[in-house]
């Protein structure tokens, strides 16, 4: 009964380093999303995917790339981390129709 699993849960990076955040869902959902949450703000959509092999930009895509090679996995990459990318990152997935999004527990990322 895992739902949406994010790894890692915490990470500290130095400016300029790269890393990949992994999201895995076991609900056979078509749609997957990456959000960031910053203090005093709601969740903001970075990128999303409507199915295996497809990705699209959300509200705040700059500095991030994504890939969806398998239906159950959605990867978020930071090629050259910047302090402005310090945030809590949430992955979510949803099924067809008016289905609510199911969220993982987040990855807290600090960039020094």
């Amino acid at each position: 009964n895992a739902g949406v699993t994010q790894t890692p849960k915490f990470r500290v990076l130095k400016t300029g380093q790269s890393m990949t955040l992994l999201c895995a869902q076991d609900m056979n959902h078509e749609y997957m999303y990456w959000y960031r949450q910053d203090p005093g703000m709601g969740l903001r959509l970075i990128h999303y995917s409507v199915g295996e092999g497809t990705t699209a930009k959300g509200e705040v895509p700059d500095g991030y790339n994504v890939s969806r090679l398998k239906k159950q996995n959605f990867l978020l990459g930071l090629e050259s981390a910047a302090p402005s990318q310090t945030s809590v990152y949430f992955c979510a997935s949803s099924g067809q129709g008016d289905q609510p999004q199911h969220f993982g527990d987040g990855t807290r990322l600090s960039i020094l």
């Binding site: 949406v4 749609y31 959000y35 005093g40 703000m41 709601g42 969740l43 903001r44 959509l45 999303y48 409507v50 699209a56 959300g58 509200e59 949430f90 979510a92 949803s94 008016d98 609510p100 999004q101 199911h102 969220f103 993982g104 527990d105 987040g106």
Partner: protein, 111 residues
């Protein structure tokens, strides 16, 4: 531009009383509205939703009201319980790919 606003960062109520959380939106294209609840160190969990064709949806102690003309929705929790203490996010969507969230309201229910 914040298309979804929750103007009250925090709310405190007594156990057993009603909690009312409010949310305003600006985009008239939104046709699906949701409330999520979030505990510390966890992801948001879905609570209740409402389609734009309805003005009320009820699920146990939780009721969501939608006033489309005012672009306003509210979540009522009756009776409030200490376990309801969490951050509540309002969200509005138009299709799968355009969901916007408010900044959240921290609800504290005092025993």
């Amino acid at each position: 531009d914040q298309q979804v606003k929750q103007n009250s960062p925090s709310l405190s109520v007594q156990e057993g009383r009603i909690s009312i959380l409010n949310c305003d939106y600006t985009n008239s294209m939104f046709d699906y509205f949701l409330w999520y609840k979030k505990y510390p160190a966890e992801g948001p969990t879905f609570l209740i939703s409402i389609s734009s064709i309805k003005d009320k949806n009820e699920d146990g102690r939780f009721t969501v009201f939608l006033n489309k003309s005012a672009k306003h929705l509210s979540l009522h929790i009756v009776p409030s319980q200490p376990g309801d203490s969490a951050v509540y996010f309002c969200a509005a969507a138009h299709g799968h790919n355009d969901m916007r969230f408010g900044a959240g309201t921290r609800l504290t229910v005092k025993p």
